[in-house]
Symmetry: C2
């Protein structure tokens, strides 16, 4: 269920009462790739396999799931051992990380690649703005862990007509990685899809979207200026503050948005 019941005290306007409250779970997942310890992710303990696939793809260790020989979890799901066909990209990743990396906040080791290396979006999509707003509303309604705990971010992959995959996680980046990883496992193509996120759109969120060639990114929240600059230069559409019957259109990329 990914949440725990805790007995807590609730204070309200001078009154205090003891209540049972639902608290979102946070668990470590330690990832080994071909016998080398790679990372420990703090995540909501669900969809671990999708998280691992999405994380490896986001960090550039794999391009497709065909490059994975096996994914084995420990019984308590806290450790995962991945075997890759080739270890060269793992070694490049570790070498790059040894030189420079970020840790505080939302940083990917891939993030600070130079502008020339930014992935371009080579796809486009035609969507109706009313439909897009109904997709975000559907995602919100289905954010059951958030409704119970208030402690998750939601991310979904949709066609121009319907939600296909949705996950919730304590981390924005985990949630994105889980959705993209699940789509890779299910063999769903990305080039005619929309990525929907409940949280803010930073440069890294944009890079993750572009790297999978998804043409449209829509958020309930705000983008940063760097996210918009990267998106604008590379053909990604960004819509933000999508709530109810309103939305901001920051850039339309290669896509067409019908009003």
């Amino acid at each position: 269920m990914a949440f725990e019941i805790w007995r807590i005290f609730r204070y309200r306007q001078g009154e205090i009462e003891e209540i049972e409250d639902e608290i979102i779970q946070e668990s470590p997942l330690k990832i080994f790739v071909s016998h080398q310890e790679l990372a420990t992710l703090m995540c909501t303990p669900k969809e671990h396999k999708a998280l691992v696939v999405g994380f490896l793809a986001a960090e550039g260790l794999i391009s497709s799931i065909d490059e994975i020989i096996s994914i084995d979890f420990s019984q308590d799901q806290s450790i995962v051992r991945v075997e890759l066909l080739q270890t060269s990209r793992r070694d490049e990743y570790l070498a790059r990380r040894a030189i420079t990396s970020g840790s505080s906040g939302n940083i990917s080791f891939n993030q600070m690649q130079s502008e020339e290396q930014w992935p371009k979006v080579n796809s486009s999509l035609q969507v109706d703005i009313g439909k897009v707003l109904s997709l975000i509303t559907s995602m919100e309604k289905a954010s059951h862990l958030f409704h119970r705990t208030g402690g998750t971010h939601s991310v979904a992959l949709a066609s121009s007509e319907e939600l296909l995959i949705q996950v919730e996680d304590i981390g924005r980046h985990n949630a994105v990685d889980k959705v993209l990883g699940k789509a890779m496992l299910d063999g769903i193509p990305f080039e005619d899809k929309i990525l929907l996120v409940s949280g803010r759109v930073s440069s890294e969120m944009v890079l993750k979207t572009m790297r999978r060639n998804i043409p449209i990114l829509i958020s309930r929240a705000a983008p940063t200026n760097l996210a918009l600059e990267i998106a604008q230069k590379n053909g990604l559409a960004i819509l933000g503050f999508a709530r109810g019957k309103r939305v901001n259109i920051y850039c339309i990329g290669n896509s067409q948005i019908n009003i």
Copy 2:
């Protein structure tokens, strides 16, 4: 000002208009410590010196600012070079990171230390719950970048009576590091203070608070179960969903909270 003006399109109930919108800035800050590249943080370009000090303290490279010989920024503020009295802890940090680290989501390289190494809170504080709620309300009112852009997290350090330091940043962890770094630079002791955060309380947020011996952590948002477990075992008080005249008291640690 830490934001940019962009011309965007706003859609509302079938109507579209072109407007000027304020977009929060996101910039890289590359940190070198004694000639070794250490990390690149994506942050709101304000309070860089406080961020560097808070980050180095959070990652265990320094315990006090006396250990810093110099902090020099490049003219465009995108690179900072720090000289430390001793480089042994930097080397330990880099060695630890070479073995394992997380990158996606909110992970510190220090985070997955074993339970025995968790810092204990050796301080306590007596606060009135009404006062605490008024502090959170004051922080919200003073979150000017959030009011303009919707794209920041707020963090503040307060005595039991008043806010002392407040910052906003696109990253929750940057904002915490900036507040703690600024307090270290200003010589403000932590043991009788409260840390207030607008965002969620994860295990790493709790560890950062305990590492500075702050006895009370208050959030507008939800905690995770792991955050509560660590806090409960180590004497930290956690209050959450502090909004208006209501708040949840998850654990009181060594402190006393007067109703």
